[in-house]
Symmetry: C2
C-alpha cells in the first residue's frame, strides 16, 4: 500500500454512490467505483500519484492519444473470499505485460510501486465494492494515455496513468458461435498485436459487426499473411481440444500473452491433461470437426475466464461441436476459479492478498 500524503495524495468522496448500484444486474464495465488513481508522467519522470473521486477530467483537443493512439491498458480482477479478504490474481503478470506494451508504443514504463501498490491502495479503499460469491468480481482497468499536446506524429512527452474499477458479474452469456477470419485480421507481423494497445481493438469492431450480423458472437483471427493459422479471439486466447490434447497458438508478436491462457496451461499440466502450444491450422480444424476428433473450442481471458464455443463457421459452412460430458474447458475453469476465490489451495502462489 502507498502511504497517504508521503507516497500518494488521497481525496475521498463525501458520499459513496454504492447504495445506488444494483449489484444483481450489472452489465460489464458500465458502473465505476467512487475513486480512481491518477499518476502523471512529465519532464522525464512519474509524479506523485493521487486517488480522487471518479470523475471526468480535462484534456487538450490536440492530446496525442486522440491523434496518434498512444494508449495501452490492462484488465485484471479482484475477488473476495468467504472471510471477506480481497485477492488479486497474478498482478505481476499484468505489470510485466503493461510495461511490454509501453515499450512497444514508445511510452514510459511504470514502477511496481505505482502500479501494484497504487492498485492495492485503491482496491483496499473500495473493498465494499467487491462482492462475495462465485462470478462476482471487481474488474480493474489500469491504463496509460498520451496527454501531451501537439499534432505532430511523434511520441508524447507527457502521459497519464490511471486505474479505474468496475464491479462485475460474469461476462459472457448464451451460446458462443464463432467465425474464422478469412479476410480481415487484427495484427501484423512486426506489428503491435502482442501489446494491449487501444488501437488493436478498434481494428476488430467492424469485422466483428459483420460477424454479429451473421449470427456469430466472436471471430477467431488467423495470421494475416496466409489466413491458415488460428490465433486468438477479440479479447481471448483460444484453445482447441482434439481428442484428449488441448492446443493453443504459441505467443508471438501477433498474439497477446494472456494471463488466463498461461494459467490454464499450467493447471492443465498439473492435472495431467496434454497441452501443446502450437498453431492449429484451419484445415486441421475442419478435418478434426469432420472426423469427430474435435471435442471442444474455448476462449480464455480475464473477463470471461473460460468461454466454451459451440461451433464455428469457415467458408460458409458451419461446424457444430459435439456436446461433451467431460468438458476440459469447464474442468479448467472450475479449478482456476476456485483458486481465484480461495476455495482451493493455491499451490502456484498466484493469489495476492490486499
Amino acid at each position: 500500500m502507498l502511504k497517504n500524503s508521503s507516497e500518494i495524495d488521497i481525496t475521498r468522496v463525501t458520499q459513496s454512490k454504492i447504495k445506488d448500484v444494483d449489484f444483481e444486474n450489472l452489465t460489464f464495465g458500465n458502473v465505476f467505483t467512487d475513486h480512481m488513481l491518477i499518476c502523471d508522467y512529465k519532464e522525464g519522470k512519474w509524479q506523485k500519484p493521487i486517488i480522487k473521486p471518479y470523475e471526468p477530467f480535462l484534456i487538450d483537443p490536440s492530446a496525442k492519444v486522440f491523434h496518434y493512439g498512444q494508449a495501452i491498458f490492462e484488465g485484471m480482477k479482484a475477488y473476495k473470499d468467504e472471510n471477506d479478504d480481497v485477492w488479486l490474481f497474478r498482478p505481476d503478470q499484468n505489470l510485466d505485460r503493461f510495461n511490454k506494451s509501453a515499450i512497444r508504443l514508445a511510452m514510459p514504463e511504470i514502477s511496481e510501486h505505482i502500479f501494484i501498490d497504487g492498485l492495492k491502495t485503491l482496491v483496499d479503499m473500495e473493498r465494499d465494492w467487491v462482492k462475495k460469491g462465485l462470478g462476482n468480481t471487481l474488474y480493474i482497468r489500469p491504463f496509460m494515455i498520451a496527454i501531451g499536446s501537439g499534432v505532430i506524429a511523434q511520441p508524447s512527452t507527457q502521459y497519464r496513468f490511471m486505474i479505474i474499477l468496475s464491479p462485475a458479474r460474469s461476462y459472457y452469456s448464451g451460446e458462443v458461435k464463432v467465425t474464422i477470419a478469412e479476410h480481415f485480421s487484427r495484427a501484423a507481423n512486426g506489428g503491435i498485436g502482442a501489446a494491449k494497445a487501444a488501437g488493436n481493438y478498434s481494428a476488430q469492431f467492424y469485422p466483428q459487426k459483420l460477424a454479429q450480423e451473421q449470427g456469430f458472437q466472436q471471430i477467431i483471427w488467423t495470421d494475416d499473411a496466409t489466413h491458415t493459422k488460428l490465433e486468438e479471439a477479440g479479447t481471448m486466447n483460444v484453445f482447441f481440444r482434439i481428442n484428449d490434447t488441448i492446443y493453443t497458438a504459441p505467443v508471438s508478436e501477433r498474439i497477446l500473452d494472456g494471463v488466463t491462457r498461461k494459467s490454464l496451461i499450467e493447471l492443465a499440466k498439473r492435472e495431467g491433461i496434454k497441452v501443446e502450444e502450437r498453431s492449429v491450422l484451419v484445415d486441421e480444424l475442419v478435418v478434426a470437426a469432420k472426423d469427430g476428433s474435435l471435442k471442444e473450442i474455448f476462449g480464455a481471458g480475464t473477463a470471461a475466464v473460460v468461454s466454451p464455443i459451440v461451433g464455428f463457421q469457415y467458408k460458409e459452412t458451419y461446424y457444430e461441436l459435439p456436446k461433451t460430458e467431460d468438458s476440459i474447458a469447464l474442468q479448467l475453469k472450475d479449478k482456476l476459479t476456485k483458486i481465484q476465490y480461495k476455495l482451493a489451495e493455491d499451490t502456484f502462489g498466484w493469489t495476492v492478498k490486499i
Copy 2:
C-alpha cells in the same frame, strides 16, 4: 458556410491570442488558433455543431477512445493567395477518406455539410491566422473520437467530431535518410492500414525511435508478410524514380490513399512524366541503386508536400542517391505548390475558395 444560430452555434473569444504568436518560428502542430469546431454524435445522429474558443474539454476516464482506440483524423491545409483569398486543396478527398476510415473503425460517417461547411466556417473566422507566402499554411486537423463511456470492448454509441487549426511553415528540414523495414511493420493484410486511424501511428513510434537512433529520419515500410514490397513512410506515400519513370505502390488495404500522392500522379501524367502504380521490390531498389538507374526517392504528404530522400539503408548497407540536376520531385513539388497558392492555373479544379 454554416449560418450562425440556425446551423451552428458560435461563441467567440473575447481576445485573440494571435499577437502572441511568432509566425516566423513556428514548430509544426504546437500552436492552435483561437477557435475550434465541435460536433457530437449521440442517439444515432449528429447534433448541431458549435464553434467555441480552443480549450481543453472534459471526458470520462472510461471513454472508449482511451481503451479501444476508436479515433480517426484527417490532415489538410489552407493557403492564402496574393489577393488575401484563402483556399482549400481537394477537401472532398479528405471527407471521402475520413468516412472510409469511419466505416473501417465502426464509427459513424459525417455529412459534407458538417465536415466541409463547418471547416469553411471555422477557417473563415481564422483568416488572419493564414499567412501569405510560399510555405506558410494553416494546417487543418479534423478528427473524431469515441467519447462514450464503458470498458467493454464494443464500438461506442457516442462520438465527438472536432476541427482544430494550427498555423504552420514547412514541415521537414535537413536531409532525409531512410531505412527499409526488415522486421517491424505498420499494417496487416485485412487490417486498418488504409484508414487514417490513430492506432496506426503509435505502432510506428518505437521502430522510428530505433531508426532515429541509427541516424535515419524515416522508415520505409514493407509488406508485413514478406518484407519485400516497398509501401510507404510514416506520414507519406513514397515514390521511386528509376531512370525516367516514377513508381509508387498501388493503394491497398495496407496503404493510405494519399491526396498528395494522387495529385502528383495526375500532375506527372499531365507533364508527360511516366508514372507507374505498382509495388517496387526491395531487391529491385537495391539493384537500381547499384547500377545507377535509381535517380530519386521522395515522400509525398500534406505536411511535407514533397520530401526528397538522399539515401536509404537496407541490411546494414547504406545507398546514397546521386545528386540530380533535373529532380522530378522538385519539379512536381513546384507545380503542386503553385496550384495550391494560386500562382498557376488550376486546370484540375482542385482548389476551393473559402
